[in-house]
């Protein structure tokens, strides 16, 4: 029988299945960070359990680490305790760890792929909803809660039920100016934040085949914003080339065996999907969010919607509330909206390609005097690479701050946060109320639009700053 990529990975990891479909699946890789793990380690200690497979586990501190003056340690007591707790736990349970001062440290979803810890055909979990990022390699990767973190640490398995197969088929080609961030925001706008609930999404189409791994990761990363626990893209030569000679990737004859196996993973022709959505790539424009839900999108040349035109009362109230919180007016041109903060970073857009694209636009220009702008590379290695290419100089010269790696202002658990009323063009993934700081306003954008907006002080089409 024809199988999807998801079917194949699911079946090859199935250890036990009950009559009602409740299944025990094997977990190949587990990424651990400081925020969602302390209670899990405490649970292990209380029940006298060990970590089943430390070598399949990789820990890093990313959510609350400072991006400035790191050598001085963490100022905020709660955050410091949480990171110290991780230091102690990885020591006690013998888990591989990139500590805060390791060059390989960075956002958990940046370092996994970068080290080759992430590979096709694997099941990968982490106590973080953006684990879907790793699906770009043709793996089944999803976020879990802390109880499940404890379960994986103790048993290297998870109790799951199989999700539905959903195909998002992208037909035609994207305009050159349109990025993978624009595409995923456009898709979320089409299917809504609950559009993928109960499903694993497979993205397919020629437009993806031409994309780099970095761009594919941006797409899979935001699957959770469309309600899906996981998003995946079939592996191909671009995937294999990316992984080749990565520190934790298979070597020598194992590499050849692995590649042969990886090539069998893509969905068979005629495989059955429970839901299919077609996206016409030629209709996708440069897309950003205007509101406080990732589905509240607008084209960079578009306008803020008018809630009076919406008949459903609950939806109308949601849009009214978003407009009020965002301090906008119905019908307002989005390119007239002034911003005072620009954040280039997060597990969605902090990889070398993102930083290069933004630098390209910034080169030789200055950040508007009304704007505070920062670049937070996704990892120490991304930062190093960018510095070798001289990109840090371009940013600093333009007036950007060049920071140390971490989650930073995406969720503002460290001191990088918006103040009440600040408005930010952010390359991150969530624009919820208060996400980047209480009372802060977030517009989700591509690195290119973030860079252009930093120069003009308004949400700006990058073509208008050349």
């Amino acid at each position: 029988m024809s199988k999807t990529l998801y079917d194949k990975i699911w079946q090859s990891h199935l250890i036990n299945e009950q009559d009602d479909g409740t299944s025990l699946i094997y977990i190949d890789r587990h990424l651990v960070h400081e925020v969602t793990s302390p209670q899990a380690f405490e649970g292990l200690r209380l029940s006298n359990r060990k970590v089943n497979s430390p070598k399949r586990t990789l820990a890093v501190a990313d959510h609350n680490v400072p991006t400035l003056d790191r050598e001085l340690g963490i100022k905020e007591e709660d955050s410091r305790i949480q990171v110290e707790e991780l230091d102690k736990n990885v020591e006690e349970f013998q888990i591989p760890y990139f500590n805060m001062n390791d060059t390989r440290q960075g956002i958990v979803h940046v370092i996994g792929p970068e080290q080759g810890f992430t590979q096709p055909g694997m099941t990968i979990v982490c106590g973080d909803s953006h684990t879907a990022t790793h699906g770009a390699f043709g793996s089944l990767a999803f976020g879990i809660g802390t109880s499940e973190v404890e379960h994986v640490l103790a048993t290297q398995t998870l109790i799951q039920k199989k999700a539905m197969n959903m195909l998002i088929n992208i037909t035609g080609n994207l305009d050159k100016i349109v990025t993978s961030k624009d595409l995923i925001l456009y898709i979320i706008g089409k299917i809504g934040t609950a559009g993928g609930t109960g499903c694993v999404i497979e993205y397919s189409g020629n437009a993806l085949r031409d994309m780099s791994m970095e761009s594919r990761m941006t797409i899979c990363n935001m699957s959770i914003e469309a309600g899906a626990r996981a998003g995946m893209i079939a592996p191909d030569d671009i995937t294999f080339n990316y992984l080749y000679e990565k520190p934790m990737a298979p070597k020598n004859e194992d590499w050849d065996k692995a590649v042969n196996w990886w090539k069998t993973l893509p969905s068979d022709s005629g495989a059955k999907f429970d839901k299919i959505v077609d996206i016409d790539a030629t209709k996708v424009t440069q897309t950003i969010t205007w509101g406080t839900s990732p589905e509240e999108i607008v084209s960079i040349d578009g306008t803020v919607p008018n809630p009076d035109k919406i008949s459903d009362e609950v939806k109308q109230n949601k849009i009214k509330r978003s407009i009020e919180y965002m301090g906008l007016t119905p019908g307002q041109k989005i390119s007239d909206v002034e911003i005072n903060t620009v954040f280039i970073g997060s597990c969605t857009n902090s990889r070398i390609e993102d930083i290069r694209s933004a630098a390209e636009i910034i080169k030789g220009k200055k950040v508007s005097t009304s704007v505070k702008a920062l670049v937070v590379p996704g990892s120490g290695l991304v930062k190093k690479q960018a510095e070798e290419e001289g990109l840090d100089v371009i940013f600093k010269h333009a007036g950007f701050e060049w920071r140390e790696p971490g989650c930073s202002m995406c969720l503002a658990m460290n001191s990088d946060k918006l103040n009440e009323g600040d408005r930010c063009a952010s390359t991150s993934n969530r624009n919820f109320e208060g996400r980047q700081g209480k009372g802060g306003r977030t517009h989700l954008v591509s690195p290119e639009i973030a860079a252009a907006s930093a120069i003009t002080g308004k949400l700006t089409d990058p073509r208008n700053v050349t």
Partner: protein
Amino acid sequence: MEKFNTFKGIAAPFNILNVDTDKIIPKQFLTTIKRTGLGKHVFDEMRYKKDGSENPNFVLNQKPYDKTNILIAGDNFGCGSSREHAPWALKDFGIKCIISTSFADIFYNNSFKNGLLPIMVTKDERDALLEDAKDKENPEIEIDLENQEIRRPNGGKIKFKIDPFRKKCLLEGLDDIGLTELHENKIKSFEESRSIKHPWL
């Protein structure tokens, strides 16, 4: 885990679309290393004014809803981050059951691991329960998991579906890890065959 018994409790109307986990428990409270004590921060930004005092317009600050055990919620409740702090905070506040038309997957999963029952009903059923909850004089609803039944204040009943395994775990207060450890031999033989077939994994 504590066993989930039939109970009668105050239901609060909470018909907001796409309530995300940042809204349920904002990030400034995620630095805890414990599971308890988050109840005072649940829905922080809606619940408290800038000066830290309670916002009297927020439903859970009003009587009798300050003693709510059941939320009658809007569509797609619990979307966003995987933080288990969301069900921990709701549970710590006293909420034992959330009724909606739909839930985000991770939140749904996390709730069961913490003895918090998410119930999915149709839109019409949810809307009827919202009306029940709005009656401040008599907002009590009974939740009977064993019989998969919601009993309304007017004596009406709403049946609901639930995964049989999850139901059993809640009713008996079973620990997932303990259950999985019963499959230890199967896990071991799976690992062995895997290390031969795909040694790099």
